[in-house]
Structures are given as structure tokens and as C-alpha cells.
């Protein structure tokens, strides 16, 4: 079906994929709030939410409904446009990243080969990096537009933290890129698919990346932008109703997406360990294998989400100078050393 020189099936296929991925991120984020409270309860020897539905499974729906129906307050002294733009940007940047992630091996529908990836761009990982660097604006604009000193302080904290940890994150990524020799996400996964996972070569790089991911998503021990005992509530103090909900939601989506990216970069992406997918595909069909690989990626990502929660309920918060000290004086030199060491070993083995 060609109209206006555009392959409409292609557009339909991509639209369907985008719809599924966004719904999936939303759903995972929704149930991550439930998971967070259950994990917290488990660690603190409580029961956790158990009133709404069996095992409290409808709790996220109740929370969402509550947020939607609450009164919406826009402070008089705020700049209204930016006040609304803040949570919007936070949400959009959280969802944008999922576009370049390969979610599974390709499917065959009819005669079409359908890759489970929205856009396999040449600059894959740089795109992720660009979107992450834009994530600052949601926090900064929201905090500033509230016209509240505490919000502004929290926003500035958040922005400086994210900018500082981006550096170490980028440096730890360079080592991975040197191993694969490509920025394309599908190539990075394909390389691990055929040989060993990157974590074997890059354990230090992974640890640095993981710490930076914690800082980028504003999770404990780096949740200084929302340190309630210093800053009341943080950058979203003046927000109410669903606008507050969007900020909190964006954090969970970010958590899920960073879990997916860690799995993709270091843990083989959608690769099922100890299984030859090509043999499996002959036995049960390509589409079922695609589904299985997708579930595998989800399992890996959800494991990282669980680790994020685990850390939140066991480790206390850093002080701000400690955070900056760790970021600039520990992680960046470590990441640089890791990068140079990787480069030397690659050169040495190739000679």
C-alpha cells in the first residue's frame, strides 16, 4: 500500500510498536509504585498495601484515580506556562528513550520482517545520551516556575547532580563502544548475542554506569532534589494532582528504562543465556522466540528495578558535598582509567 510515496504499512507497524512500548512503560511504572511499597514493606518487616483487590493489586489504580481527581492548584506567583511545561517535559523525556531500544528478536507477520525496535538509528546510544541530558529541563523549569525558594534550590541541586554524573556515565560508555565498535543499539546487542555479554569484559564500567544511573534517576542514595528534611518536598513541592503524578511517574519510567538500557548494554539485551535461539526458532517458530526474548529482556530490566528499590530501602542519603566529591573526584578518574585500560587491552590483543 503506497500513498504519497509513503509505505503506510510501515507507518502502521511503527505506530503499533510505539503504542505497545509506551503502554508497557506506563504499566510497568504503575506497578513499580506497588512493587516499591511491597519491597519497602518486606525490608521493613511490614505487610504493605493489601486493601484494594487481591494482595492490594488494585492499589496503583486507586492511587492514579486519587491523583486525577484531586484539586489542581497553580500558584498565583508562578509563571503558568512553564509550570505546566515542567511535568510535561519530564514525562516526554522519560518516554523518548525507549525508541532506540531493541526489545526482542524480529518477528514475521505475513510476509513482513518486523524488528521489535522503533528506530535502529546509526547513533543509537548517543540518542539515549541526548535524551538523558534533556531530562534536566523538566526538573529545572518545574522548580523555577513554582516561584518557591525550596523548589528552586532542589531544582538546582537536581540539575547540577545530573550534569555531573552524565560525564562519568559517558566515559564508562566509551569503553563499551570501543568493545563493539558501533553506536547502533542493534549491533551492540548482536555482538553480545553471538559471543559473551559485555559485563564479562566491563565489570568496573558497569558499576560506574549503575551508580550514575541511580544519580540520573534521582534515586536514593542520590535523591537530594527531593530530600524532604532539608527542602520540604523538593522541586515538585508546589505541584498537586496529576502534575505531581507525572513527576513521580516519570521517575519510575526512568528507572524502568535505565534498567532496560543496562540490560541492553551489559547483559546481552534480549539474549536468552545458555540457549541457542536459532535452534529454538526451528522448533517453536520465530514469533514465539521473539516473544521469549522480549520476556527475557523484561525479566532483566525488572531485576534492575528491584535492585534500585532494594538500594533505596537499605542505604541512607548522601550529603550534597559527598555526592559531588564522589561524582567528580572518584567516578570520573575511575571511568577514565577504565577507558584507557580497555583501549590498551584492545590494542594489545589486536596486534
Amino acid at each position: 500500500m503506497y500513498l504519497l510515496a509513503i509505505d503506510w504499512f510501515f507507518i502502521l507497524e511503527k505506530l503499533a510498536l510505539i503504542f505497545v512500548i509506551i503502554m508497557l512503560s506506563m504499566g510497568v511504572a504503575m506497578y513499580a509504585t506497588y512493587g516499591e511499597r511491597k519491597v519497602a514493606a518486606f525490608i521493613q518487616d511490614r505487610i504493605g498495601p493489601n486493601r484494594a483487590g487481591p494482595f492490594g493489586l488494585f492499589q496503583p489504580l486507586a492511587d492514579g484515580g486519587k491523583l486525577f481527581f484531586k484539586e489542581e492548584i497553580i500558584p498565583l506567583a508562578s509563571s503558568k506556562f512553564l509550570f505546566i511545561l515542567g511535568p510535561l517535559l519530564a514525562m516526554v523525556t522519560a518516554l523518548l528513550t525507549s525508541a532506540v531500544i531493541p526489545w526482542g528478536s524480529s518477528m514475521t507477520i505475513g510476509n513482513r520482517q518486523v524488528p521489535l525496535q522503533v528506530a535502529d538509528v546509526n547513533i543509537g546510544i548517543l540518542y539515549v545520551f541526548g535524551v538523558v541530558s534533556l531530562g534536566v529541563y523538566g526538573i529545572m523549569l518545574g522548580g523555577w516556575a513554582s516561584n518557591n525558594k525550596f523548589s528552586l534550590l532542589a531544582a538546582i541541586r537536581g540539575a547540577s547532580q545530573m550534569v555531573s554524573y552524565e560525564l562519568a556515565m559517558g566515559l564508562s560508555l566509551i569503553a563499551v563502544l570501543m568493545l563493539t565498535g558501533s553506536l547502533q543499539m542493534s549491533v551492540i546487542v548482536g555482538e553480545q548475542y553471538n559471543s559473551v555479554w559485555n559485563i564479562v569484559y566491563q565489570p568496573l564500567g558497569f558499576i560506574i554506569f549503575f551508580i550514575c544511573a541511580l544519580a540520573e534517576t534521582n534515586r536514593t542514595p542520590f535523591d537530594l532534589p527531593e530530600a524532604e528534611n532539608e527542602l520540604n518536598f523538593g522541586y515538585h513541592q508546589e505541584y498537586s494532582s496529576m502534575k505531581l503524578g507525572f513527576y513521580l511517574f516519570a521517575e519510575y519510567i526512568n528507572m524502568f528504562i535505565s534498567g532496560v538500557i543496562m540490560a541492553t548494554l551489559y547483559f546481552g539485551g534480549y539474549d536468552i543465556p545458555f540457549v541457542n535461539e536459532a535452534h529454538l526458532a526451528q522448533r517453536i517458530g520465530e514469533n514465539w522466540v521473539a516473544l521469549l526474548t522480549f520476556l527475557m529482556l523484561m525479566a532483566k530490566a525488572l531485576f534492575f528495578v528491584f535492585v534500585f528499590m532494594w538500594i533505596r530501602w537499605t542505604i541512607p542519603r548522601f550529603r550534597f558535598d559527598q555526592l559531588m566529591h564522589l561524582g567528580w573526584k572518584r567516578l570520573i578518574p575511575l571511568a577514565l582509567a577504565n577507558m584507557i585500560l580497555t583501549a590498551v587491552v584492545i590494542l594489545w590483543l589486536k596486534k
Partner: protein, 166 residues
């Protein structure tokens, strides 16, 4: 009209509109936002020319880092209130003339280039992709590349020195 040409015109309107917003808006935060939108539109143009690397680096460096610093300065110095506009009439006239002269020179310089003929280059030409760009930078242009890296290093050292002096 081709779809890529349509995209080109849409991006152009966005770029020029937001560039005008930078100059005309009273509130500096809106100016910064306008500049960010302009960067995005220009990155869109780069993607239409199949220069993906340039597009994303433009976003990472300018929209993601430099504009954040601009916002920092504006927020911390509380420049959000509309400041006194320039009152001197002669300065305004001179500024307008100088700006038009620059515009004229740019138009004259670009008038006869071949860019005019192909606004959009979809899927052809791989000079903008990472691999070919990197190869060019590290073979043909290795000396300018290294010199500019030294320049960056000296700028970094300079900022550290200035920051330490208290």
C-alpha cells in the same frame, strides 16, 4: 510537494519563529527556551541532510549542556524580571543597520552555492554518519582536530584557574 520538502519548510518556520522569540521575548527564561527550540529545529535540518552525528551532538552539547548553564545563571541571578530595554534611539538604528549588513553578506555568500538546489538529502551520502566522520577527523583533518582539543584543554585549565582565585 514531497514529504521531505514539507518537513524542511516546517522545520524552517519553527527555527525562524523561535529565533525571533529569543530576541523579542521580555523574559530571559523564554529566550533560553526559544534558543533550545531553535537548536532542535536545526538538528532536524541536519537529520534531513543525513548528518545524524552532527544532529545529536548539537542536541547533547548545546541543548543539553550549554543551555542548562544559561538557565542556571538566569535562575540564580534572578534575571527573570523584565529589565529596562535599550532606550537610546541611535544605538537601535545602528544595530538594525549592522544586522541587515550581516544578513546581506550572508545571503550574497550563499546565493551561488549548490546548497540551494538540494534542500534535502535523504538516505544518500554517508559523510554525516559516525564512521566516515571519525575516519575523516582522524586521517585528513587530524592536525586541526588535535589543535582544537588542545584549545579545549587550555580553556578548561583556564576556567579552573579563574574558579580557584578567591
Amino acid at each position: 510537494m514531497n514529504i521531505t520538502q514539507l518537513l524542511f519548510w516546517i522545520l524552517t518556520v519553527i527555527a525562524i519563529g523561535s529565533a525571533l522569540m529569543i530576541v523579542t521575548s521580555k523574559n530571559p527564561v523564554y529566550s533560553v527556551l526559544g534558543l533550545i527550540v531553535t537548536f532542535f529545529a536545526i538538528s532536524g535540518h541536519y537529520i534531513l541532510m543525513n548528518a545524524q552525528f552532527l544532529a545529536i551532538v548539537n542536541i547533547i552539547v548545546y541543548a543539553g549542556a550549554i543551555m542548562v548553564l544559561f538557565l542556571f545563571v538566569i535562575m540564580l541571578m534572578n534575571l527573570s524580571r523584565a529589565t529596562e530595554t535599550l532606550k537610546n534611539k541611535w544605538l537601535q538604528i545602528v544595530g538594525a543597520i549592522a544586522g541587515s549588513c550581516l544578513f546581506l553578506v550572508l545571503v550574497a555568500a550563499l546565493k551561488n552555492t549548490e546548497i540551494k538546489k538540494n534542500l534535502v538529502e535523504m538516505g544518500t551520502g554517508d559523510i554525516g554518519l559516525v564512521k566516515s566522520l571519525g575516519r575523516e577527523l582522524f586521517t585528513t583533518f587530524v592536525i586541526p582536530f588535535e589543535i582544537s582539543s588542545v584549545l579545549f584543554l587550555s580553556a578548561m585549565i583556564g576556567s579552573v584557574v579563574i574558579g580557584k582565585k578567591e
